[in-house]
């Protein structure tokens, strides 16, 4: 049977018909049982196929004619059957023009045997109807042979057919070539493959046809007109969609055959065949995918070929086709399969929805009023193009045809169908995660609802879509959807939402200027409406209205004192397309009392370091989505924290200023759209700026505030009010703060120079920091005068008033009134938080020096100092403090200020002797950095001994003394009678700074008091060295004699009356100890170097000591020192004193130590302590004591003399010591 779905390559049989009839059941049953390998030409892969054959009786007319292209009805193999007993088979074959006809002779042998012999093409089947192994074998052999022959024949015929077909295809450029004709030929091949169950191969044939046709269309579009294609360009008159329920749509096939098919017919037929084959191949999802491509393609091809299509016709066709495909797929799959393959079918659903929507719009089914007559006419035309429903779906309730017809029948039916489809599509898209697609369909649905005046239903879809676009930052869809949403909200009467959306749209640069102005006007119109509820505020986020760009404080450090004026200048960038008059712009300020603790933080330091008073606000990143993966960039800054006391670096590091942005909880994308409920803070502290017109773009707005309470003020919210509409920036970030401080008034007094010098006028700077106190007229500083410090009033001294920022605001002459006790300084009038500065000259008077006590006074401290301290104190000026108590007008308490003055001079004195003549030397050392002029030096004896005369040896009355240098003054002491045991002297010298021309006041002279004791010479010591006898000079290494002559110069005096004095027979004598010391080690003293002598206390009493010394060097050698000590007997009260014998015998080193003290010890007061340092070890032992004689009592007449020592002759090395 031709054209049946059972593919049967036909064969024909001839010969003994009865015989054939008897074997036919076995033959037809056995033939397909074994598969055969089908080897194919053109390198196609071999396939295993089962052969099934249709046998017809041979007739002459069955032989194919020339040019026959019907492969299906073509006889492939001719078999001749005959019964034979003997093997007499005969093969006969004839060759036809187009195919191969084959004759097979079958011979029956005997009754029980059918022998199938194969001589050429003869096969003997033995006993075919018996059940024996031989029969079976024979059958097998026969069947194998038959299959092989059948396949050979088939392959050969197929190859021939394919070759012919290709030849035909190559001719496609020739005029008169017909695509439809070729179509039929290749489809024949497809049928054959289909019959062989080679659906893949069959599909290839259709796909080739498809591609060939598509290529023609494209080429046609490119200008290469194929004549035959114009045929397909006839206007579309029928749009009844795909028909997929029949294996072969014969109606359409015939129209192709008749070359009457339209493009849609051809495409529909082609696809129905592809669909059938794909379903055979169990690939329903490919059907869906191909269907979508087909539908798109057809739409495009019709456009390309410029085929005339009535409006809506294609929509009908696509809609019907989509549903047909879906129903066809549903028909061959179970629910679970369908559900898990939504991804493949949802496209068709969506497409159908889209098309139904456009049909609805076209036919006036979406309008509020329903279709008009024109719409109805169009509907009628469209329905006419559908024709009658085809019989195969006529009984199906939900057939695409019925659905479309119903949908177009009424507004209500359309709505139902459209909503069903839309919801189904959205649900499917959502279920497979294609959210964007779902939202897009939802947006269409929203449009539908808007047209149906059901904004409440549209809103959710618009919001959903908008959220989606915002999350991914698609600007144009955002703008478009917002516009739709605005309309929706307007209809819904959601005033706040509408205004908010309007403000967003008004600032949207993707809209035209007119559109933006429109939305801006909407806001302004609303704002200007008289509200029925006065005081009611519509709060909207500011972001879309205007943006805060930067902020600048004046003063730039954002610190202001109480009562001070602070300016905050902000730059607001208006997003509105037109100037907007704003009633007021308000900054809500949060006040916190924590004074200045904030400014110690690192944040404050960095902020104020980097921004120099200008704080920039990051531009809004509204068009960019803040998705989980794109966090804002780190804002890193260097941070240096310095110690407040010495400004040294404590900490350094990097801080991230937008930590709160980076570490905050990741919110869903809904946060992108500013929540409409922006809380409006009502604070006690606000900064306000009224009646501002915000021009489009940047606007400068200045807030001015007077600081009130001290503390930290944080700018929180920025609000701009336009009528009842308030635009609010809920959080100002980065944090902006200013500080208000309050300060107590302060007085600060400091020397102008590094240190103040006593005795000369010195400048002192007074600084009054007014703080919160206002200096009124008549306010003055009352200085209680210190006794030794004068405040010098100068007529020209002025006070300068500075503002807190060190800008000079005024100056005024200073009025100073002095009385005995109090100096009153009138302060110039100055407002709060100003600084008054002025300078005063003060003079520290030298107070009367106190003798003996540890006094700070001039030079007197020095002699008391321990010897060891001398080096150190040598460069250090003696200081004196003067405390001044000042009464300030702002306080009931006095301020005590201590000023420290340094004495520029250090003075020492010395007693010099020449025999019995005495001299006093005063050394004045200038320790200061200044040069002075000294004048009128006096030395007076304060004890007023008339007998005593001080004869100055100083010749100059004026004498400069340069910085760090000394000047010496000498007086000779003269007396006529017995000299006093002690002398109180006062040295005074006038001084003035050398640099200054003229001093306004006369300065007090510098004085120095001292006491000289025991200055009268009692003993003369004379030492002489003689060369050895018989020699002219001393020689090194040879002993010389040292003669020491100690002579008493006076009779008994007061000073002699001590413990050492012994009296016998009215003769007084005292015990002295002498000691010869050579510190320079020029001499070696042989024998005892010291001894105790008893010295008569009488003038001209002499004691002579002789000893031997040896010069160690050659040259002029100074004589060894001879020292005299008073040898005091043991006294229990002085048990700590050194035992003379013990130290005499001890060593000479200890003696040397004591000797060190003597030459410099000009003051006689320090005697007693000389030995105390080394006496502790002898504590408790009764010992005599030694007391060095005061320098003034012993005159060494041989000091400074030298002895020539010549080297011994045998010395090879001459050593010369020069001292």
């Amino acid at each position: 049977s031709l054209g049946s779905p059972q593919p049967l390559p036909p064969g024909s049989s001839a010969g003994d018909q009865n015989l054939f009839t008897s074997v036919y059941p076995t033959l037809s049953q056995q033939l397909p049982r074994e598969p055969m390998e089908w080897r194919r030409s053109y390198g196609r892969a071999p396939k295993m196929i089962h052969l099934e054959s249709n046998f017809v009786q041979f007739k002459e007319e069955l032989l194919p004619k020339e040019g026959n292209k019907a492969l299906l009805t073509f006889p492939f193999l001719h078999i001749y059957w005959t019964e034979c007993c003997v093997s007499t088979s005969e093969g006969k074959r004839t060759r036809g023009g187009i195919g191969l006809k084959m004759s097979v002779a079958l011979c029956m042998e005997g009754l029980s045997q059918i022998v199938c012999s194969c001589l050429c093409r003869c096969v003997v089947l033995s006993d075919p109807l018996k059940d024996s192994s031989r029969t079976q074998e024979s059958w097998n052999a026969f069947l194998t042979k038959l299959r092989t022959l059948l396949l050979m024949s088939f392959t050969k015929n197929l190859g021939k057919f394919e070759d012919d077909m290709r030849t035909l295809r190559e001719k496609r450029t020739e005029p008169g070539w017909s695509f439809c004709e070729y179509f039929m030929v290749q489809e024949e091949l497809a049928f054959v493959f289909e019959m062989l169950q080679q659906f893949e191969d069959a599909l290839v044939q259709y796909d080739e046809l498809d591609a060939l046709f598509s290529q023609y269309v494209v080429n046609f579009g490119a200008g290469d007109g194929a004549n035959w294609l114009t045929f397909f360009c006839q206007p579309v008159k029928s749009w009844n969609g795909l028909i997929l329920r029949k294996p072969i749509d014969m109606e359409k096939r015939e129209s192709i055959q008749r070359r009457e098919a339209t493009l849609l017919d051809l495409r529909s037929y082609l696809f129905s065949r592809q669909c059938t084959l794909l379903l055979f191949l169990q690939r329903p999802w490919e059907v869906a995918q191909r269907a979508l491509e087909l539908l798109h393609n057809c739409v495009q091809e019709l456009k390309l070929l410029e085929v005339s299509v009535p409006p809506g016709a294609l929509d009908c066709w696509v809609f019907l086709s989509c549903l047909e495909v879906l129903q066809r797929i549903e028909g061959c799959c179970d629910r679970a399969q369908i559900d898990s393959n939504i991804a493949h079918t949802v496209g068709l659903w969506s497409y159908a929805t889209e098309k139904l929507k456009s049909l609805g719009y076209l036919c006036g089914l979406v309008s509020e009023k329903g279709p008009n007559s024109e719409d109805l006419n169009r509907t009628v035309d469209l329905l006419a193009g559908l024709g009658a429903e085809r019989p195969e779906t006529a009984n199906t309730a939900q057939s695409p045809y019925k659905k479309l017809k119903e949908a177009l029948s009424s507004v209500e039916a359309f709505e139902k169908h459209y909503l069903d489809l839309s919801h189904a599509t959205i649900e499917m898209y959502t279920s497979i995660g294609r959210i964007r697609s779902a939202k897009f369909v939802g947006k269409d649905l929203a449009e539908f609802y808007m047209r149906k005046k059901a904004p409440q239903k549209a809103e959710i879809y618009l919001q959903g879509a908008l959220k989606n676009y915002l999350a991914e930052g698609w600007a144009l869809p955002i703008t478009h959807t917002r516009k739709q949403l605005a309309e929706c909200q307007k209809h819904l009467g959601q005033i706040e939402n509408y205004l908010q959306t309007s403000s967003l749209l008004a600032s949207d640069h993707h809209l035209t200027e007119e559109e933006r102005k429109h939305f801006c006007q909407e806001i302004l119109d609303f704002a200007s409406q008289p509200s029925d509820n006065p005081g009611h505020k519509i709060v909207l986020p500011m972001q879309s209205f205007a943006q805060l760009r930067d902020l600048h404080f004046d003063p730039s450090n954002a610190v202001v004192h109480v009562g001070g004026v602070l300016c905050i200048e902000i730059t607001m960038y208006s997003q509105m397309p037109v100037p907007v008059h704003v009633e007021q712009i308000v900054v809500n300020v949060h006040f916190s009392i924590e004074k200045n603790s904030y400014r110690k933080t690192a944040e404050w330091l960095t902020k104020h370091k980097t921004s120099n008073g200008i704080i920039n606000f990051p531009p809004e990143t509204a068009p960019f989505p803040v998705s989980q993966n794109s966090l804002p960039a780190l804002e890193l800054y260097e941070m240096f924290e310095r110690s407040p006391s010495d400004n040294s670096l404590n900490t350094t590091g990097i801080i991230c200023r937008n930590v709160h942005m980076l570490l905050r909880r990741q919110e869903s994308s809904s946060s992108l759209e500013m929540p409409s409920g922006v809380a409006l803070e009502e604070g006690a502290h606000v900064l306000r700026c009224s009646h501002v017109t915000l021009e489009p773009g940047a606007n400068q707005i200045t807030f001015r505030t007077q600081a009130k309470e001290p503390g930290t003020y944080t700018l929180r919210q920025l609000c701009a009010s336009v009528g009842s509409v308030w635009f609010v920036l809920p959080h100002i970030y980065p944090i902006v703060q200013y500080d208000v401080y309050s300060q107590e008034p302060q007085l600060h007094v400091e020397p102008l120079a590094d240190s103040l010098l006593a005795g000369i006028p010195q400048k002192v700077k007074f600084t009054v920091t007014t703080g919160h106190y206002t200096i009124k007229n008549g306010d003055s500083l009352q200085l209680s005068n210190a006794e030794a410090m004068l405040i010098l009033c100068q007529a020209e001294s002025r006070a300068v008033v500075y503002s807190n920022t060190r800008e000079q605001s005024s100056d005024a002459a200073l009025r100073i009134q002095s009385s005995d006790k109090v100096t009153s300084i009138s302060l110039p009038v100055a407002p709060a938080y100003h600084v008054i500065e002025f300078e005063l000259e003060v003079l520290s008077l030298p107070s009367a020096p106190a003798l003996g006590g540890e006094s700070d006074m001039l030079g007197m401290a020095e002699p008391h100092r321990k010897h060891k301290d001398k080096q150190k104190t040598g460069h250090c000026m003696v200081t004196t403090d003067h405390k001044v108590s000042i009464d300030c007008p702002w306080s009931i308490y006095s301020t005590v200020i201590a000023l420290t003055f340094s004495v520029p001079f250090r003075t020492t004195h010395a007693l010099l002797s020449s025999g019995t003549r005495k001299y006093v030397q005063v050394c004045v050392q200038n320790l200061s950095e200044l040069d002075f002029q000294l004048s009128d030096s006096y030395l007076v004896d304060t004890s007023d001994s008339t007998d005593l005369q001080l004869v100055p040896l100083n010749t100059q009355s004026q004498q400069p003394i340069y910085s760090k240098q000394s000047v010496f003054f000498v007086w000779e002491l003269k007396w006529t009678e017995e000299p006093p045991p002690s002398l109180h002297c006062q040295f005074s010298v006038g001084f003035s700074p050398a640099s200054e021309e003229q001093l306004s006041i006369s300065l007090k002279p510098y004085t120095y008091e001292f006491k000289v004791e025991n200055f009268f010479t009692l003993y003369n010591v004379k030492a002489e060295i003689f060369p050895p006898s018989g020699m002219e000079y001393c020689r090194t290494g040879s002993l010389c004699s040292l003669e020491v002559l100690i002579t008493r110069l006076s009779d008994l005096l007061e000073v002699d009356k001590d413990e050492a004095l012994t009296e016998s027979d009215e003769h007084f004598s005292t015990k002295l100890m002498y000691e010869v010391v050579d510190n320079s080690s020029n001499w070696a003293v042989c024998g005892k170097s010291c001894g105790v002598i008893s010295m008569p206390v009488a003038a001209r009493a002499t004691h002579r000591v002789h000893m031997e010394v040896m010069p160690l060097f050659a040259g002029y050698l100074p004589l060894p020192d001879v020292r005299l000590f008073k040898y005091l007997p043991h006294h229990s009260a002085h048990s700590s004193q050194l035992d003379a014998d013990s130290w005499i015998e001890n060593d000479s080193l200890s003696v040397d130590k004591h000797g060190d003290d003597q030459p410099d010890s000009s003051s006689l007061k320090s005697r007693g302590s000389v030995h105390s340092a080394c006496s502790s070890e002898h504590k408790g032992l009764p010992m005599p004591r030694l007391q060095a004689l005061p320098a003034g009592q012993v005159f060494n007449s041989s000091s400074g003399t030298q002895v020539l020592v010549i080297p011994s002759q045998d010395d090879h090395v001459l050593e010369v010591s020069v001292t």
Partner: protein
């Protein structure tokens, strides 16, 4: 040549570059009036991109072939290409232009990708926007290719 030739001269009608986060980094289309429609379309097609990428999973990373072929069946064709960094290049091609072969599309994407890399190599480039004259010209030349 007549009005039919215009289909061949327009190669691509919209070329967006989309970031990993599906934000449109760059979008150029012709004609300009249809930009909104294209943006809707390209945005919706990202569903398919996501699907393709997730179905490929790790294979995409290892794969040298970044061309993902045709996507999103509508009456307009879209061609999709992704980079290792998940930046996506999409080309909306006029559907009539079936003459456009895969290798040509490949070449165009390769050019686009290289251009993108050039822009990104600039350390001062703002990764939020890659629009600059060089890119624009290159993209425009792709959209209107003179035959």
């Amino acid at each position: 040549m007549g009005k039919r030739t215009r289909y061949l001269t327009i190669t691509a009608i919209c070329i967006p570059v989309i970031t990993k986060e599906n934000y449109p980094l760059y979008i150029r289309s012709t004609p300009m009036e249809n930009e909104l429609r294209f943006q809707y379309m390209v945005h919706t097609s990202l569903d398919m991109v996501d699907e393709k990428i997730s179905s490929m999973g790790k294979a995409l990373v290892n794969q040298r072939e970044l061309y993902l072929g045709l996507l999103y069946p509508t009456e307009d064709y879209k061609v999709f290409y992704t980079t290792i960094s998940k930046v996506k290049f999409v080309m909306v091609v006029n559907p009539s232009n079936t003459a456009l072969r895969d290798n040509e599309i490949h070449r165009m994407f390769w050019k686009l990708h290289n251009s993108y890399i050039d822009v990104m190599c600039n350390p001062f480039c703002n990764p939020r926007t890659i629009s600059r004259p060089g890119t624009d010209n290159m993209v425009m030349s792709m959209m209107i290719q003179v035959c």
